[in-house]
Amino acid sequence: MLVGAFAVAHTPQLLIRPETEDRDLVLRVHAAMGRVKRRLEELRPDAIAIVAGDHVEAFFLNAVPALAVYVGRECEGTFGPYRYRLDIHEPLARAVVEQGIERGFDLLYTQDAPLDYAFYVPLHFVMPEPARPIVPLHVNVYLPPQPTPARCHAWGAALGEILRARPERVALIASGGMSHFPGTDRYASPEFDYDRGLLDLLREGRGRELARVTGEELDKRGNIELRTWITLLGAVGDARADVYCYEPSWHHGNAVVEWPIPGS
């Protein structure tokens, strides 16, 4: 069953802070992520399914999957001095890939790919104690052509049905966003007003409208990573967002959001 749903920023400057980053802002985002950790401890999930966009780490140009599922017993990765190894909830991961393919989603699966920091940064801060096994779910956000928002939403709807039919208590986390333009001349000028409009829409439970956004618009608005959120929105339907924080830095719209699941 699906017991919780969250979106969490993953910008690496939250984990490793250069002098260019406002320390108080970073700590405020940490505090919001601490709320997610406490909520997860209340919700007592058996597993955490986390949707993130690989940053050309596991999947370089040798193979570019639109959607992928990690189905091994564990996964690991590195970022700077951080070495992380996380257990995978293998029965749940296998059910997601098998049932996802039955439902018409041609998922890539991996038992070996390294785990990008987009998965690790949120989990570093929100993993409840004791730690839960995870199901990493990749959505291609950085290597065009990416899956359309409509496809991400449809996959999320199928994923939500799969998770709700399972015996395990599952929390779903979308990692990423909001507006940022790494490596471009827009890096210092994200679209914060666009983000705020999106958050207002999500507070009103209108997340399914994002299925109609185009890939071009996401690119233009610095929100290519919103595909992970849109996947989650397919799973949570018309749930209303509780925005824990929106902290715009000089280059990044950092948001932490919960969609409370009725009955959880």
Binding site: P12, L14, L15, I16, R17, P18, E19, R23, V26, H30, H55, V56, E57, F60, L61, T78, G80, P81, H124, F125, Y142, L143, P144, P145, F181, P182, G183, T184, D185, R186, Y187, G215, E216, D219, K220, G222, I224
Partner: protein
């Protein structure tokens, strides 16, 4: 995706360049070789002289114009900074 998108289809002609940026982003041993001797490190990646010169300067605009993926340029630069100046960073 339009031709003026921030993130565009990576041209295959730029594959060696993107592979080198990927190594700078994700391969600590290569990062260390690059920091020690960027001429030798880039020579092993099959790049032409112009690409190697732009890489040594980490000239973002020039690299992207050659087909480099902007995110790879960004994170390669950040990882080089992390490796070269670890004491200026706060780890959580």
């Amino acid at each position: 995706m339009s031709a003026d998108a921030h993130y565009r289809f990576p041209p295959s002609a730029a594959y060696p360049l993107n592979r080198c940026l990927y190594a700078l982003k994700s391969d600590r041993a290569f990062i260390d070789r690059f920091l020690a001797d960027p001429v030798a490190a880039t020579a092993e990646m099959g790049l032409d002289e112009g690409e190697r010169a732009d890489l040594r300067r980490m000239d973002r605009d020039a690299l992207v114009a050659r087909g480099a993926h902007p995110y790879l340029v960004f994170m390669a630069g950040l990882r080089l900074k992390m490796a070269a100046e670890p004491s200026t960073l706060e780890y959580f």
